[in-house]
């Protein structure tokens, strides 16, 4: 029994979500191999090899794999899939993009967003935006799954000494082409990796106020910035800041919800945070039902006060 973990990376660094996925793979039992499919991604392969718990790293390098196109990455996974009992992807935008393609080609069902490994063939996963937890069993020859990163602690990034084996890269499918990307430059931690998140809701009122009030707090705490769907839909914050079932799933040490009412779909994205602070004018807001510390106050007064007090 061997599990293949598909590494998430940007060709330069191994993303943290890979480490959580490796932990899930270790819990399955058996060996853990990591596939690094990229372009000039030797540093990523080296980082994967240094991760505790990894027995072998397979490294496929080609310009066709540079941008993680689903068609090419899926083909790369399929080229080596027959050697594995489990194939795990982080449940990130890129993992979710590729995993079903691999499963369909192998003619097996796929498990999405597993949050707990019960045994080698039985897992837990949230359904209905986290309002129910399904225990599912997959008795197919290969178990293809995406792993909810907040369900598993990250594997230790050091201490491993796995061998890196170069494997032949697949050819470009020729059916899709990468045109460009706009990735916001982050001078603060990434949302899914942050220890502290400061998040704003519809009560922020405008994108100017969102920045004016919450950015100094995030700076002071060294926190990432997040937002509710209502705030994103209203244009107060960029799309990729959205925390919730249809956005990012986060579980930081501290989550500070400012002016967020706490819709079910938002709670589904952050209720696994260690400590939740809610600041809201409306004392009936559902966010208070999950908050460890609730402050009923006008955030435009309380947040500046909080910044001063820190």
């Amino acid at each position: 029994m061997t599990t293949l973990v598909i590494a998430e990376h940007d060709n330069a660094t191994l993303k943290g979500s890979t480490l959580n996925t490796i932990t899930a793979a270790v819990q399955v039992g058996g060996d853990v191999h990591v596939l690094v499919a990229g372009s000039n991604a030797a540093a990523v392969a080296a980082a994967a090899a240094a991760t505790a718990g990894v027995a072998k790293v397979l490294h496929a390098d080609s310009p066709a794999l540079a941008e993680g196109l689903a068609e090419n990455v899926a083909a790369q996974v399929l080229a080596i899939a027959s050697a594995y009992s489990h194939i795990f992807f982080p449940a990130t935008a890129s993992g979710k993009n590729v995993a079903p393609r691999v499963a369909a080609k192998l003619d097996v069902g796929q498990l999405s967003d597993i949050s707990k490994v019960i045994s080698a063939d039985t897992f837990e996963r949230p359904i209905y935006a986290g309002n129910a937890i399904a225990t599912v069993q997959c008795s197919q020859a290969v178990k293809v799954a995406t792993v909810r990163t907040t369900g598993f602690d990250p594997a230790t990034a050091t201490g491993g000494s796995a061998a890196v084996e170069s494997i032949a890269a697949v050819a470009d499918s020729g059916k899709s082409a990468f045109v460009g990307k706009e990735i916001a430059k982050l001078d603060r931690p990434e949302l899914t990796a942050a220890k502290i998140i400061v998040s704003g809701g519809r009560a922020m009122g405008s994108s100017e106020k969102f920045n004016e009030v919450l950015t100094p707090l995030a700076d002071k705490l060294g926190a990432a910035l997040g937002a509710s769907r209502a705030a994103v839909d209203a244009g107060y914050a960029p799309n990729d800041w959205q925390v919730g079932q249809t956005g990012k799933i986060v579980a930081p040490q501290l989550y500070v919800a400012c002016g967020i009412s706490g819709a079910i779909q938002h709670l589904a994205g952050m209720k696994d945070s260690k400590v939740i602070v809610a600041i809201n004018k409306d004392e009936e807001a559902p966010i208070f039902s999950v908050a460890d510390y609730g402050l009923v106050a006008d955030l435009f007064v309380a947040v500046p006060e909080l910044i001063k007090a820190l």
Partner: protein, 249 residues
């Protein structure tokens, strides 16, 4: 160009589902059912492409129980031209749906298939990608913008950290994210018109697809409850608690 738009009948997004006490699933008896919101965005996008003149025909498809006809009528009220129901009482998992859709893609030969990125009941986020794999077609998931020409589609996708743009050769598969568009309200005259549009019913057998579920649900349970904490009177108390009690700052 023909566009195929699969739609799923799901528990309405405003309904808070309850887990059945025997742990066999969630209680959906007498609960309001609606079109999966992401699918509604897919139908809307197809209709806008038709209004722009690049698309000539929109075929809505649903796989599932007889009542999915209502979902298909809604799709036709938004603007789909005709509908196909693949009727079955079997619990359909994404791979089975993808196989049924592949059979219809082979038959109808659409230039584009637009699907919702995920259904809000099982939260799988698989069907579009699986369909693309089975048809050997290129895919662009989580679309926030799309531009269609006669032989290609350029799609902006929501990815972690921002967005990226891909250009796919047609035929292709696109799945929609939340902010691709805002679906229109269906008007009464359009609901009336939709009743007269053709709706064909086929069985999975007729499409040669085995829809047996691959993954077994052993039980469904309530998520662990997170208890409410305390209300603090002021900012100073909050900071003190965070420092000394929670020790997170």
């Amino acid at each position: 160009m023909k566009v195929l738009v699969p739609v799923k009948r799901v528990v309405d997004y405003n309904v808070k589902v309850r887990v059945k006490s025997d742990g066999t699933g969630v209680d959906i008896a007498n609960v309001k059912m609606s079109m999966n919101p992401f699918d509604e965005i897919a139908v809307e996008e197809a209709v806008r492409l038709k209004e722009k003149g690049v698309v000539t025909e929109i075929i809505a498809v649903s796989c599932g129980v007889t009542q999915c006809q209502e979902t298909l009528r809604t799709a036709m009220a938004i603007g789909a031209d005709r509908a196909i129901l693949v009727e079955t009482d079997v619990e359909l998992q994404p791979l089975a749906v993808a196989k049924l859709l592949k059979a219809l893609v082979d038959k109808e030969q659409p230039g584009l298939v637009i699907l919702g990125k995920q259904a809000i009941d099982d939260d799988c986020n698989q069907t579009g990608q699986m369909l693309a794999a089975l048809c050997d077609l290129p895919q662009a998931t989580f679309a926030s913008k799309m531009e269609l020409t006669a032989d290609s589609v350029t799609v902006s996708r929501e990815v972690d950290g921002g967005s990226e743009t891909l250009k796919l050769t047609l035929p292709a598969i696109v799945t929609t994210d939340l902010r691709l568009n805002e679906p229109r309200y269906v008007t009464l005259p359009n609901i009336m018109k939709a009743k007269k549009k053709p709706l064909e019913i086929v069985k999975p057998d007729a499409l040669g697809v085995d829809v047996t579920p691959r993954i077994k649900t052993l039980k469904v349970s309530e998520p662990p409850k997170r208890g409410a904490g305390v209300k603090v009177p002021d900012v100073a108390t909050l900071v003190a608690k965070l420092k000394t009690e929670a020790k997170v700052i």
